[in-house]
């Protein structure tokens, strides 16, 4: 994730995800620190090779969902028993079965909105944010492996990218 300012990045664009997977393995074996990998779609088996930990986004999602459950259920309980008790269809004030659909909906709503906002924040995305991406084509058909020039020597990185079959090699200051 591009958090640092003015980082010089050397990156190679591969035409095929198999070449990328192979290159990532080679880099790990050669102890080259990878700055980041960008792919247009989730590449199967990439996460374990990169050693990425399982995302904790769904744990946040559970908390948001539970918050939605509580908001809806306790909210309706308070409204229909304390704040504005009304009899609907001869049912008791505290009509739990009638609360369930709304409780379900708010659980989904809270989890969905909460997880979306969290995802945007941790990825530095949002309305009006200019994204610091390396190349437009990594959202289309190119697979990108990037090195930080301050960490991995530029010449070394370029020769590595070339030797692993990168179709194009560029560098860019983010």
């Amino acid at each position: 994730m591009a958090q640092h300012n003015h980082t010089e990045v050397v990156y190679g664009l591969y035409n095929d995800e198999e070449d990328l997977l192979h290159a990532v393995k080679e880099a790990q074996n050669g102890h080259l620190d990878i700055y980041d990998v960008f792919t247009p779609f989730p590449v199967h088996g990439l996460d374990p090779i990169l050693g990425l930990e399982e995302s904790r986004l769904h744990q946040a999602g559970f908390i948001y969902g539970a918050l939605g459950t509580m908001t809806a259920f306790l909210g309706m309980t308070w409204i229909f028993t304390k704040d504005w008790p009304n009899i609907f269809g001869g049912k008791p004030y505290w009509s739990v079965p009638a609360f369930i659909p709304i409780t379900f909906e708010l659980t989904v709503l809270f989890a969905a909105i909460g997880m979306t906002v969290t995802f945007y924040i941790i990825n530095g995305l949002g309305p009006g944010v200019v994204s610091k991406h390396l190349d437009d084509r990594i959202t289309d058909d190119k697979f990108c492996l990037a090195f930080d020039a301050a960490v991995v020597d530029k010449q070394k990185a370029e020769s590595f990218l070339k030797s692993t079959g990168a179709a194009e090699i560029h560098s860019k200051t983010l």
Binding site: H44, G45, D47, E54, H58, F62, G89, G90, K91, P97, A98, I100, P101
Partner: protein
Amino acid sequence: MNQYTIKPAHRNILFGAMALGVLSMALTWLGDDAHHTRFWTNFLHNSVFFTMVSAMALFFIAACVTAYAGWHTVFKRIWEAYSMFLFVGLGLLFIVALGVFMHWHHLYHWADEASVETDAVLKGKSSFLNKNWYMFGTIIFVGLWAFFALKLRSLSLSEDNTGDANYAQHKSMRVYAAILLPVFGFSSAAMIWQWVMSVDAHWYSTLFAWYSTASAFVTMIAITILTLIYLKSNGYYENVTQHHIHDLGKFLFAISVFWTYLWFSQFMLIWYANIGEETIYFKERYNNYPILFFANLGVNFLVPFLILMRNDTKRKFGSVSFVAIIVLLGHWVDYFLMIKPGALITASHAGGVEGHAEESHGAEAGHHAAEHVSTFVDGFTIPGLLELGTFLGFFGLFAFVSLTVLSKAALTPKNDPYLEESIHHHVV
């Protein structure tokens, strides 16, 4: 090892379970009321339960073939083996259907001609709820399912021997599977109405078939998980990995939630509308079976929902088999609650053998009926030891039949177009 053989010790355990089942059923019969209501409800309950489990295995094979799914191919022989139990289920339910004809039991109010004559509701339903339809549906529809099960399995077996890159058998399976799905969709609903919903003959719910079929589906997935883990622990199915178990765990989770959705949809609409002839079904269960009524929902929803929500609990054999056992018993209790209350009411209305004559005697007859009921009410409001014994007997029969069928063919099919995909199946 690609060829399964039942260990003698395990076979003896299954025979022991079946013997326990026969003993329980005999004891039930001896200590029963005049109609042998407890015996027949247990017989119907377990027959329908395991027949529906094997029917759902057949349905799932057909659904996977039609959907071009390949993840299950390494262990699809297990479902093929389950689906062969349909032949046994056909025999078991034929006995129930014969019982309707011969008046061996009093499970169904609509089967009592004298009651139907004086009852406008039952009379209105009599074009569907009658002994001929019951017999016809049981023989023809279950027979049809069994035919499709046999056909799909024999195509799969012939693929092992003569399958090649033309995939002629698989293409033929697609045709059979596509024909089966709509046929099964309508016929399974009709049979569920006949076998189970018509126990409460005056009551009906348009959601009932969905709800009870979802229950059977969850059970089928739970039994699949337990069978796979049993076979893996005995050294078979090394090519079935935690990735396959993970997907089965997802199905166990998802269909449990789906079942809850259907249970609640059925309950809430009836509760909200509060029409007497509809609420009677839930009022009976709420008042007289409160523990089972709430435990059913708690066990079959909360346990799989909370435990299987995480990624890793669907992959670990310990947690997933724990949930599978709970859910298997939970859905057995679910079917118990579908059948027993209605049958008990029917039996108590009928009283003794000359039920209707006695009812007219007023208080005395009421007392008599209550006395009759009290001899077997323990086995109704909660499953007693005899119910558990009967369940173990039927479970042993189901396990014995399906494991025997499983031992007749290679565990992992050969030449299936989706085999490679299934072996390399990988989910994160």
